[in-house]
Symmetry: C2
Subunit: 346 residues, 2 copies
């Protein structure tokens, strides 16, 4: 790193460190001529202010943390892109932490932030997380937290989510309208609020259609092989599903593999809708009907809220809630037999 | 952030700040009993050492930066996952910066690092980058840099790459063996070394088969619509390609869309191979033959090299080069007409 300290710079200039510091901050107390001398010498000596020294003075790190379960997922990678774009504009730095869906990792990561490493935190909690204390402690330490997508409902702070209940209801209704009678919901969590909201939306659509009896939830997990087994089991049942609502693209990819393997034809034998932002949805075999989440916009909005709270002392995050709706993109995986695809409209 | 300073902690304990600091560092100069008292009081008062204060003392930030073009790409998201896993083990923090393929952004990002914000840098350069000075300056400031995937060949430091020349040669040979006579190479850069290495491998395979005359390179860009236009143009030619080697999955996705739109059948009318790590390669329409890059391993190895140089003063990065080979995964997009797919072997 740059080895020139402000003291050395001051020596070279025959000025006090305080004067040099003020000059570099363009203080009105310093003459234009002195400022010029200081700036030139700073440039010649390639002086760069030490960010940690100034963080210490300002008690600000100009750094935010993004804590999320996974990055190899089209939703989260797009969300980070949205966050990073805002941060670059604001001149902030972005630390990225992956919990790999483990709540103990999430706790230890957040615990470290109490030290003041970051000015604020954007988080989408792990599949396992049910406790609030790790987030509460952070807030108690005066570090603002904004949730995006996967929230902890009890915690009173800003949240940026999509309309999970309504999107799942619409997707399920879509499957019913396409003639499905036994729709399975592939869930990735028994506790996560968005997963539960989607479950409720799914149930609502079945009730609205007088199909309460047909509620069929397959709770999947973190392990791909186990999910493969669970889905294969569901599709081997006597009265197997003729429709699937998948709560995560990773589960949809497994479901496609299982169908290909078992010779179950999509959409003729089974129709599939998935929460997903896959760039390849349109060119899958068959093209996938998705509930496309506004991933980039959700990351962007969450970051904007956090920076607002960092820049405006009077702005309170409590109670702020932004809901950005998802969109159903109808494609071949839910087409009626013999009906041409809708790729080009999608 | 935690408001208890080491001074306040010392006051509470009626000890000197120095003694407390040594006790927390488990120094042999301090009695077991005192250490116990200090640790207990630190716990009671929820004392957390300020990372910037210790960074300043140690001149170490325990933070590394990962600079890359994009994150919504299966290669880079998997690579970050590899990097992040190693960093978590080592107790380091990971700052992620996206250049969005713009070299001026890359320069300003690296310039900021001179301040000592990070102890080391992992970088995969932007499509535009041809200059070395921004990386040289960083090294001159004593900040170690390790390249992964997209390297600057002239810079003498550790590089972790895949066998781009050989992988492209094998993929092109594969297309020739499947009966392609006019193979187009979709390139994403006119300057980037890996893109050029792949181009050379492609040319080599054509020469080996006595097909020098058939060299056909389509240089694509950053803009998806423009790439769509370029590929459509290539596939509308009198003697249009019957094979495609795509240097990036983003170009393959566009090529699939164009083929679907123009009614060009894959693999009957045209066969496609792509450098890609798409999780959905196997369920595309048709399943995609890929050159699968060891993305996670490349990120992991690059991070391990960087930490080695940070932890061992005597370890020099210069001259270190790790090549992790890519693997050709043969699937339906290059199958001979009427030949059953190889999904299950893939």
């Amino acid at each position: 790193m740059s080895t020139i300290t402000i003291k050395q710079l001051a020596q070279e200039l025959n000025l006090s460190a305080g004067t040099v510091s003020k000059a570099l901050k363009d203080s009105h107390e310093i003459s234009a001529e002195t400022k010029k001398r200081v700036r030139e010498m700073a440039k010649d000596l390639d002086y760069v202010p030490n960010p940690y020294a100034s963080s210490l003075r300002r008690r600000k790190s100009k750094t935010i943390a993004v804590v999320l379960p996974d990055i190899a997922d089209s939703f989260f990678s797009a969300a980070i892109k949205g966050i990073e774009t805002v941060a670059q504009d604001k001149g902030y730095h972005v630390l990225v932490y992956l919990t790999h869906e483990l709540s103990y990792k999430e706790c230890s990561i957040l615990n470290d932030f109490k030290s003041g490493r970051v000015d604020g935190v954007l988080i989408s909690v792990s599949r396992e997380t049910t406790e609030n204390h790790h987030v509460n402690e952070l807030q108690a330490n005066g570090i603002p937290v904004v949730f995006f997508d996967r929230v902890l409902p009890e915690i009173n702070t800003a949240k940026v989510v999509t309309n999970d209940f309504e999107a799942a209801r619409i997707a399920t209704k879509h499957l019913i309208e396409k003639g499905c009678h036994r729709i399975a919901y592939l869930s990735f969590s028994r506790t996560l609020s968005i997963s539960m909201d989607r479950l409720e939306g799914y149930k609502q659509a079945l009730c609205d259609a007088g199909m309460e009896h047909a509620i069929d939830v397959v709770f999947c997990c973190n392990d791909e092989d186990e999910n493969n087994r669970l889905i294969k089991e569901a599709l081997s049942r006597q009265s197997k599903p003729d429709g699937i609502l998948a709560s995560a693209e990773s589960l949809t990819i497994v479901a496609y593999h299982v169908c290909h393997e078992m010779g179950i034809k999509i959409p003729d034998d089974i129709k599939i809708v998935s929460f997903s932002n896959l760039a390849t949805a349109l060119i899958l075999n068959p093209s996938l009907t998705t509930i496309s989440q506004p991933a980039f916009e959700m990351g962007e909005s969450a970051a904007l809220l956090l920076f607002k709270s960092l820049e405006k002392n009077n702005f309170v995050l409590e109670g702020e809630q932004i809901v950005i709706p998802s969109v159903l993109m109808e494609r071949q995986s839910t087409a009626c037999s013999g009906v041409p695809g809708t790729e080009l409209n999608a």
